[in-house]
């Protein structure tokens, strides 16, 4: 076995001129560095080709007038100027924001509630966990088709159940007022499994001694939840909120399958509008401009969340 090449454990920490204390930087063999790069390369290549590349390409295309077939023409920021008077774009953005800011908190609440229940050490917990994870593991389009059937106004299961309680259910997917809530309910049902698994893992990582200490101190269950569980679960909550918001801003498939964006444009989401602009209306430049705006929204909201993280997320008590 090769001898250790450095003595990091015994070396004294050193202070950099403008930074915090740091330990000595470990030296690595060239072959180890190469191996590290080789292992990173597939991910890095995937990121460059499938993420960074398209973002840069979209930025360039957003400055062009391009209908796919004719040669593209540089038009500067004209595509961005078109966004202002485009009512459908703003309506799509509003619908997406409505979807996000209602569905994400609801999904978090349902996920957290179920994770807390499953964390009580129920018998056959693995079975419940698997069953509850099934909606998340199922393809969205398939789930959406089932929910279209459930929402049928006259014979659908949802209205049949409501009828048992004397409620005359609305025509869910063809109603201006109810189409978006119907989409949100379906989406919450589809996605709570993801948050539930993250929360469950977070709950199980909380040291039991803290609960025992709270019990000894006479803390009520609510106070224990507020003072122990919630703070130590905040990294999981943060992760789930960030990924859920990003995912919700990109909502597309369930709206396409369940409502086709209607009635009117009441459930047209931003990604659906971008897709239609680019591939049905052949306006690649304008679609790219819209996607850049969406990208900017997501970056700003995510950055704001990371700023808030410093105040709200706790890694220990």
């Amino acid at each position: 076995m090769a001898a250790p090449t450095h003595t990091a454990a015994t070396a004294a920490p050193r202070r950099t001129p403008h930074g915090p204390l740091r330990g000595p930087r470990p030296r690595r063999h060239g072959s180890e560095t190469l191996a590290a790069w080789l292992f990173l390369l597939p991910s890095l290549a995937g990121f460059l080709v499938f993420t960074a590349g398209p973002v840069i390409a979209a930025g360039v295309i957003s400055l062009l007038d391009w209908n796919l077939f004719s040669p593209p023409r540089f038009i500067g920021l004209d595509n961005f100027a078109r966004l202002g008077p485009d009512d459908t774009f703003w309506s799509a953005l509003g619908n997406t924001a409505y979807f996000t800011f209602v569905s994400v908190p609801l999904t978090l609440l349902v996920s957290l509630g179920l994770a807390l229940l499953l964390n009580q050490g129920l018998r056959r917990m693995a079975v419940f966990r698997s069953l509850l994870l099934l909606p998340y593991a199922t393809i969205t389009v398939a789930v959406a088709f089932v929910w279209v059937w459930l929402y049928i106004p006259h014979d659908g299961l949802v209205n049949a159940v409501l009828g048992v309680f004397g409620i005359d259910g609305p025509a869910w997917l063809i109603s201006d007022d109810w189409a978006m809530p119907a989409l949100i309910v379906m989406s919450v049902w589809k996605s709570f499994g993801f948050g539930m698994v993250i929360f469950l893992a977070g709950l199980q990582a909380i040291p039991q001694q803290l609960y025992e200490a709270a019990k000894v101190d006479g803390a009520s269950p609510w106070r224990t939840f507020r003072e122990v569980t919630l703070p130590l679960l905040s990294p999981s909550v943060f992760f789930t909120v960030v990924t859920s918001i990003i995912g919700s801003f990109q909502v597309f498939d369930q709206a396409l399958v369940m409502t086709d964006g209607g009635p009117g444009t009441s459930t047209t989401t931003l990604v659906m509008y971008i897709y239609r602009t680019g591939f049905e209306n052949y306006e690649q430049g304008y679609a790219a401009a819209q996607s850049m705006v969406l990208f900017a929204f997501i970056v700003v909201i995510t950055a704001a969340q990371f700023l808030l993280q410093r105040r709200l997320v706790h890694y220990d008590l």
Binding site: F69, D176, N281
Partner: protein
């Protein structure tokens, strides 16, 4: 005997393996060999696929070369074709739905065929119905050669009419709108039984608009005549069948109702008396468990002038040199009487050629009216007038029209709300036509 594998050897092996795999994959993706007759078509069922396989065999027999067809489900066909055209990987002949021809032609995605037709004494354009020649042209040039063409007709459930004591409609004299409406209302009086079904979209509404003497597109103006009295009369008539007369099955959701097969699904349930649809659905309606037939479309103030639709084959602009010669021979073969006989005999639709028309045979008993309508002997038809941005027109109307059909908004308010955006699209269309000419 055992030997240890060093990390360096492992990495080297992995790298060589990767290179070999990449090489093998790139070898696999080289496409059909040169000289192969490549063509694209939509295909959404095993029956359709069988017809296109027979087309492939026919091409190989007639041209003595290999045929390679790319078949894509109809919903995804335009998007796939767009990407193939842009990336230069499109087939040398591509099928196009007639309403997309101006879109592709105005953008230079497909080439005009006039020079090839003029240089080929074997090709007889007069053997094609005038309607499909009109549908396959843009700005005075022929961009495609048709393989099917047909007017919208009215399917009726014989069994249901008989059960309700109603005589079958005449196969030669179209019903008046008043008669049709009275019948549709009468046949909707029983619970769970409906007089009529169509999809709440412009594609179906346009036949009624033509019959009223209106249109969505006006070739001479850059504003749409959709709000003209003639078109409004038709829109009110059909919307009333849905909302006031309640003569249609209720709309449960917009996605399936907007889809082309929605009316068919309603009709096949056996509780709908009349369905508006094209003879391309004859093959599917033959599966019905009741007696049925077709009659001409009801005559409005301007007569019976339903939409006439068709599909064609075209050659992408990127096809040049020897490939162009091969593409033209392939296109001629795919639209020859022999190929269209295969198509029509399989019951797909009425063929675009007069010389192949006899292959589209009954049942139903009245199937012959399709050709008589196209020849102007019975009732009539109106080629589907579309714009170079018809996708956008369709989408705009698909978003707004359902509100009228659902009774959420009056037909008048719906059209008033649509007109400014529709007129903007018409101006864009006029500009595209001007640039193309």
């Amino acid at each position: 005997m055992s030997s240890s594998l060093s990390r360096r050897a492992l990495l080297k092996g992995a790298a060589l393996g990767g290179l070999a795999t990449t090489g093998a994959l790139s070898g696999c993706s080289s496409g059909p060999p040169p000289g192969t007759a490549t063509w694209s078509m939509w295909s959404s069922s095993p029956e359709e696929q069988r017809v296109w396989t027979d087309f492939g065999h026919y091409v190989e027999r007639r041209m003595h070369i290999r045929s390679a067809s790319t078949l894509t489900p109809s919903d995804g066909y335009p998007t796939k074709l767009d990407l193939q055209l842009v990336s230069g990987t499109a087939s040398m002949v591509t099928a196009l739905n007639g309403w997309l021809i101006p879109t592709y032609a105005s953008r230079g995605a497909h080439r005009p065929l006039d020079d090839l037709i003029a240089a080929d004494p074997d090709f007889d354009p007069d053997d094609f119905y005038p309607a499909i020649r009109s549908i396959s042209s843009f700005a005075g040039h022929t961009y495609a050669i048709g393989f099917d063409v047909a007017p919208t007709v009215l399917y009726y459930n014989k069994t249901l009419l008989e059960r309700n004591g109603v005589d079958p409609p005449s196969p030669t004299e179209p019903m008046s709108w008043d008669t049709f409406r009275r019948l549709a209302i009468e046949l909707s009086k029983r619970k769970g039984q409906y007089g009529f079904t169509c999809s709440p979209t412009i594609d179906d509404l346009v036949s009624w608009i033509y019959c009223a003497g209106g249109n969505v597109v006006d070739g001479d103006r850059d504003t749409s005549p959709l709000d003209a009295p003639e078109a409004m009369q038709a829109i009110h008539y059909v919307v009333d069948l849905f909302t006031k007369d309640r003569a249609t099955p209720p709309i449960d959701n917009l996605v399936t109702q907007n889809a082309s097969g929605a009316a068919l699904a309603n009709f096949l349930q056996g509780n709908v008396a009349f369905m508006q649809n094209g003879p391309w659905q004859v093959l599917n309606v033959r599966k019905a468990s009741f007696e049925w037939d077709i009659v001409p479309f009801p005559a409005g103030p301007a007569g019976s002038k339903p939409r006439v639709s068709g599909s064609s084959f075209a050659i992408p602009s990127g096809v040049k040199g020897d490939d162009l010669d091969l593409a033209w021979r392939l296109l001629k073969t795919l639209t020859s009487t022999g190929a269209l006989d295969i198509y029509a005999r399989a019951g797909r639709n009425n063929p675009a050629r007069l010389s192949a028309a006899s292959a589209f045979e009954p049942p139903p008993e009245n199937l012959g009216i399709v050709q008589r309508i196209l020849k102007g002997e019975v009732a009539g038809g109106h080629p589907f007038d579309v714009t170079t941005n018809w996708n956008r027109v369709r989408l705009l109307l698909a978003q707004d029209l359902p509100r009228a059909f659902l009774g959420q908004k009056s037909a008048g308010d719906t059209i008033d709300g649509v007109m400014p955006r529709l007129n903007a699209l018409m101006r864009q269309h006029r500009d595209a036509v001007r640039q193309a000419t």
